[in-house]
Amino acid sequence: MKLTLSTLRRCFEGAVPAIIATCDNSAVPNVAYLSQVHYMDEEHIALSFQFFNTTRRNILVNPAATILLMDPVTAEQYHLHITYVKTVSEGPLFESMKARLAGIASHSGMSEVFRLKGSDIYRVQRIELIAGAPSPQASPPAPNLLPALRRSMTRLAVCQDLSELLAGTLDCLADEFDMQHAMLLMWDAAGEKLYTVASRGYHHSGVGSEISLGEGIIGVAARERVPIRIGHCATEYLYGRAVRDSYLQRHALIDMEISIPVPGLARSGSQMAVPIAQGERLIGVLYVESPQEMRFSWDDEDALVALTDYLALAITSAERCTELAVEPVEQAVAPTKDVGKAVNVCFYRADQSVFINNDYLIKGVAGAILWKLLCDHSERGRDEFTNRELRHDTSLRLPDVVDNLEARLILLQRRLVERCDALVIEKTGRGRFRLRVAGTLQLREVVA
């Protein structure tokens, strides 16, 4: 098989550190360990620039360098003959390497020492298998992810709407890729934050929890539109902590009471965040994690990027269908008269937050939607609604940009399932749903 950079990607995972040799104009060689070799494409790699050291000085005067790579499974060794091209210190490549370096630094207890100054980009001139190097054991067959990806796409292809797509994606991750801890977040363009709409493998679902752009691995992946994969738990990229710290800085402590904790493993070994995007439009982020270190490979990253690309298309297509079609009601039911215990609902106009029997439920657009439904139900006895009427209701202050109304309804529906027995939203057809109220509504709006 022809040696290509992609066939050597296992060597870049950091399990066995690579070494670089450089030399200055006086032909004095220098040998140094590398923290990170980043595969860019079939002709380029990027190396982490952390210190202005001899390697750095050498490549600026003599761009030729040679890397010694070791395969972490077979112990085979390779030479990469490379030429320095340029350094970048911002953007997706830099952010992705910075996140991974933070993982490596955290693993080796050197978070304060390892700070990425830049990503040094090199063109790979030649790859060479070192003669006589051992092959102690045949490489174990790597799990072939193509069948898993194919089955996943087949399963997602029959999903009818966003709700099914989200559930289907989490099912596929668990069944087909053995990724048991995952969450899906949607992008709120107007609020400039991500909110969790579905998760799997956590003690609490965290549906409704929010992450700002740039916060933790999920926030950075969204901001830079780049997949980020960390093989060792990086303290500073733990989104939960990052979110909480940031929240505390920006808000009074009391606000914490109406924030929903982001789900997450207490001891995460590996993390991967993949943006869900279609063209320029960010739709959300898929996040997976594992207690096992170095759990996710380059191939896993490829597979999840392909899966999320497909998911982005499927979500866009489902949105269009929901918008166009309003199916007739499946089965008309006579509105039930609200009886039973009182359901106290308080709506705060300022942040559109809803409290039910004094317990926080939801805020923002989802809160405003619920309030509209409850008012219509209370004042006009309505319990059948369509997505289209919500979209055209100016009182909801839906953002002009693509707003993922469907996602907000799913979020609301799930929060109600988790937090409120008295209110249920159930789908009755494409673009149509019903509100069921078990109890006597007592509505109160606080405008201030």
Binding site: V16, G132, Q137
Partner: protein
């Protein structure tokens, strides 16, 4: 901290103890066209400075087949750079030399090489690498080893951290 003697590096007891391993050793040189070369080295022996003023000499073992480019560059008169790194502590030292002497293994060298390599493989095993992999990487059966001897002219601390790159001593 080392100091220098007659332009060469004085090998302190601490440095010699460290060089004697177990370490992962990487050796580099450079062609006249300024293309660097690099390979594994397998094991090390050290002769201390003599009372007659002879400088201390360090020898590392390289495989003819696996270190073809490095040995070619050295035979062409290229300078030498060797990095010793202790897997369990990350302590790393780079030695440099302007010239080397390449000679066949002497009696006892092969046993020394094998012992050094097995001890280094043991370090990897203690870190959780599999025995098969650790042995394949650090202690392959080298049958074409040569001994590369040099008088270090400079040594640098390359342990990751604030002191990385600091000279341990240097040529006068």
């Amino acid at each position: 901290m080392s100091s220098t003697i007659h332009g060469s590096l004085l090998l302190t007891s601490d440095l010699v103890d460290f060089l004697l391993g177990p370490n992962s050793i990487k050796a580099g040189s450079c062609s006249s066209a300024l293309v660097p070369s690099i390979s594994h080295a397998y094991g090390c022996k050290v002769s201390r400075a003599s009372s007659e003023g002879r400088a201390g000499e360090v020898c590392v073992f390289l495989s003819e087949s696996r270190s073809a480019a490095v040995l070619r560059d050295l035979r062409d008169g290229g300078a030498f750079s060797v990095v010793f790194s202790r897997p369990t502590t990350h302590r790393t030292v780079q030695l440099k030399a302007n010239a080397v002497r390449i000679e066949p293994l002497q009696s006892g060298d092969k046993a020394l090489l094998d012992r050094y390599c097995l001890r280094t493989a043991g370090e990897l095993i203690s870190l959780g690498y599999t025995p098969a992999f650790s042995k394949a990487l650090m202690a392959p059966d080298i049958t074409d080893a040569v001994c590369v001897c040099f008088v270090p002219t400079a040594a640098f601390d390359q342990t990751p951290g604030a002191g990385a790159g600091q000279p341990l001593g240097g040529s006068s």
